[in-house]
């Protein structure tokens, strides 16, 4: 709210999602159009447009939620806005055609909380999502913001804070799953050389492709991360913090800087916070595009301005971290949980989830799924509930094949395990990991060998090169996978891959290398038949590996159904298609580069791939 709007009340609040996906989809233009129409009808005193952080339902952006009432509008276009403002905000008649209807259904669901995507979610880390303007500290404070900090600074001893976090059962949300309270205790008990400083770091180097949980938290609710770090600082005895954020997240960086500035203005950062004698400040450090910097020792080197290379542990950062001082590193989502635990108690938090995994986890649900977006679910929920109920299943009636969790360090879980409960232990039993929360859904058209090659290419490229097993070993694995996808695989390749995987796991220096073979191992374990089809029959069952594909045109369908529409020939960049309008078309195999564009554009299913 701007200063002049601070004490005003409005009849209607229009919460426009300004997460990265919605912004890319034009949400700021939607906001301007809303404001213009509101002005036109002289509703400026009654209707307020607010930009919020990521709402979560990215698939349906740009999004607008109308409060009070929780009315959910989606896939807005600029041309819809005049009608929407006139009908709903002037005349009070909500516009049904802009509301969400589940895939293949026609009845719209007006209220956000009635939509399946939102219904099963439990919000703790994301509790402010879509409800506040992240650039306004007053809105955060109005939703109990910095209350936990006041409690921690004025009513609790460091030991009491640590006890509360331990009791909550919170484990690191960056992937490792180490108990947070225990880590804090280590840092608290560590002595800094020459009685020097201790440091707090927030790891926001969210490098897993297909994951955007941390970015969304930083963009939607930056103050909750800052508040968490402040509480952590009091608990471990640190006076300086660093927020390490990926360079690729400019919006998150800018909102964090605004939030830090506002917190300083309010005396919530700096000297003698709340008159308690406690000093703490936070600096934002931008990453520079190296995946390995998500690994904590590499991250430390990068904050010090050095090459982002990892080093062996122990000593752990809790003992010897930034500039050799005890350092407490937690990831964004972990920090976001802290103030909520202090406010509501460790016991409350531990009542959610399973025996060993407490609380909730935020996932970015992406890939071949109807409802792409950001979801927060209680630990212990099954994959089926996430994919079918929240995610709305697989688009286009295709069959679900697998879900990949944990990014390049994780594994692929096959459809037979769809009833697996999500917790740290169950995921690791099936060969994957919780990871930071990427969840990529794959269907029958996804080739699992290609997926394994994709991840290996990623880790190979991001390997910092310091240790041989990772630098050379992942390269060897990548070469084998490449030849398999090109139809040049050999019988012994699978056992060779397994041997290499085992050696790399046992000998690589850091987590990047040690976990790099996981996507290969799990795909061999669950999808051996696909590997064998590539190696023995030289076929890619999902028709993804293009060297193994042959495209042909069914002349009968082309002529009788498509009437030789000529679209394929027009799009073919290799001049490999013969034919004219109203004639059957034909592919010249010698010229075909197997790009598949003809298959994509044919509206009649005349192009076949084998």
């Amino acid at each position: 709210m701007t200063e002049k709007n601070k004490d005003k009340t409005f009849r209607i609040h229009l919460m426009v999602c300004a997460g990265t996906a919605c912004v890319s989809n034009g949400s700021f233009e939607i906001k301007e159009a809303l404001e213009k129409e509101i002005k036109k009808y002289d509703l400026k005193e009654e209707v307020l447009v607010v930009t919020t952080g990521c709402n979560g339902f990215c698939e349906r952006g740009p999004l607008l939620v109308v409060q009070p009432g929780n009315i959910f509008y989606q896939q807005l276009k600029l041309k819809d806005i005049p009608h929407l403002v006139e009908e709903h905000f002037l005349k009070g008649r909500p516009v049904e055609k802009l509301m969400y209807s589940p895939p293949e259904e026609k009845t719209p669901i007006p209220i956000l909380s009635d939509i399946d995507f939102f219904k099963k979610q439990v919000l703790i880390a994301l509790q402010n999502r879509g409800l506040i303007d992240p650039e306004k500290i007053d809105e955060y404070i109005a939703r109990d913001g910095y209350r936990a900090l006041a409690k921690a600074l004025t009513e609790m001893t460091p030991e009491e804070i640590i006890k509360e976090i331990k009791e909550s059962g919170l484990r690191g949300r960056g992937g490792g799953g180490f108990p947070t309270g225990l880590k804090w205790e280590f840092v608290r008990n560590a002595t800094s050389p020459n009685g020097g400083e201790k440091y707090i770091i927030c790891n926001g180097d969210e490098g897993d492709p297909g994951a955007f949980m941390d970015r969304s938290i930083l963009e939607a609710d930056p103050h909750c991360v800052i508040e968490g770090m402040l509480i952590g600082a009091k608990a471990v005895g640190a006076s300086q913090g660093f927020l390490y954020v990926r360079d690729e997240y400019p919006l998150a960086i800018s909102r964090l800087n605004i939030a830090l500035e506002q917190a300083r203005e309010y005396g919530l950062l700096g000297k003698d916070i709340f008159g308690s004698g406690f000093d703490f400040d936070i600096k934002v450090t931008r990453g520079a595009g190296a995946f390995v910097c998500g690994e904590e020792t590499a991250l430390l080197a990068s904050v010090e301005g050095k090459l982002g290379e990892p080093r062996p542990r122990p000593p752990y950062p809790a003992e010897s971290g930034l500039w050799g001082k005890p350092t407490c590193i937690n990831n964004v989502e972990t920090w976001a949980n802290i103030c909520r635990i202090i406010n509501r108690g460790g016991k409350w938090f531990s009542s959610i989830g399973t025996e060993t995994s407490k609380g909730t986890k935020v996932f970015s649900l992406v890939g071949k799924i109807n409802n792409t977006g950001l979801v927060e679910v209680p630990m212990g929920i099954t994959l089926r509930e996430i994919i079918e109920d929240i995610g709305g299943g697989i688009p286009g009636g295709k069959e679900f094949k697998a879900v990949q969790t944990g990014g390049p360090s994780g594994g692929c879980i096959p459809k037979e395990k769809i009833d697996l409960p999500i917790d740290y232990e169950s995921l690791s039993e099936v060969g994957s990991i919780m990871g930071s929360g990427g969840m990529v859904v794959m269907d029958e058209d996804t080739c699992m060998v290609d997926v394994a090659k994709f991840f290996l290419t990623f880790t190979q490229d991001e390997s910092c090169g310091k240790c041989t097993p990772c630098r050379e070993g992942t390269k060897a694995m990548q070469q084998i996978l490449t030849r398999i996808t090109e139809g040049k695989g050999k019988e012994e390749d699978l056992s060779l891959l397994e041997d290499l995987a085992k050696s790399i796991k046992d000998s690589a220096l850091c987590g990047l290398g040690q976990t790099a073979p996981n996507p290969v191992l799990t795909t061999i374990r669950y999808f051996r038949d696909e590997y064998e089809a590539h190696i023995q029959e030289k076929k890619c069952p999902a028709h993804v590996c293009r060297e193994l594909n042959t495209y042909t045109i069914d002349e009968d369908i082309c002529l009788n159904k498509g009437h030789g529409c000529d679209l394929c020939r027009k799009n073919c960049s290799a001049d490999a298609i013969l034919g004219e309008k109203k004639q059957a078309h034909k592919i010249i195999q010698d010229k075909c580069i197997k790009c598949g564009v003809c298959y994509d554009v044919c509206n009649f299913g005349a192009v076949k791939v084998d």
């Binding site: 520079a288 190296a290 301005g305 071949k368 790009c595």
Partner: protein, 151 residues
């Protein structure tokens, strides 16, 4: 002129030695890449051997030692984009532009690069041209996108 820019950037940092990455980021932002003479200059100014400056400049993906085209194209290769067909899209750009990923067109109008994940997975597959984001694209849409930025 360049000297002024360097001084201005350096003045923002108290501890220049540990701020090397941030300094290079500012330079990259200003020049669009890291020109050789600027790196030599910086190495002298902050008293860090050129070899170390270069090792940092070549380690991180955010830095480029080559100038970029007027319209940099970034094809997202994140997992969500990959399973929704990013690879054939990258190849379609390569064919249409006649360059490989990592290269510039001869007239310097375009440069083509891949990017890890821009976090717009809901719009997969995604391509960025400059600051413009194109979501849910297909090979067939590539020529139309390029047309908008032709000289």
């Amino acid at each position: 002129m360049n000297q002024e820019i360097i001084s201005e950037i350096l003045s923002k940092y108290e501890d220049e030695q540990s701020s090397l990455i941030a300094i290079l980021q500012d330079l990259q932002e200003h020049f669009g890449y890291l020109p050789k003479e600027i790196l030599i200059n910086i190495s002298k100014e902050i008293n860090i051997p050129l070899s170390r400056v270069l090792s940092v400049a070549t380690f991180f993906a955010a830095f480029s030692l080559k100038p970029k085209g007027k319209h940099p194209i970034h094809v997202c290769m994140g997992t969500a984009c990959h399973v929704r067909g990013a690879q054939p899209i990258l190849e379609a750009f390569e064919r249409k532009l006649g360059i490989k990923s990592g290269e510039n067109t001869e007239d310097m109008n375009f440069s083509l690069e891949t990017v890890r994940c821009i976090g717009c997975c809901g719009l997969a597959p995604v391509v960025m041209v400059g600051e413009d984001v194109y979501g849910k694209i297909s090979q067939a849409k590539v020529p139309g996108i390029l047309k908008k930025y032709k000289k």
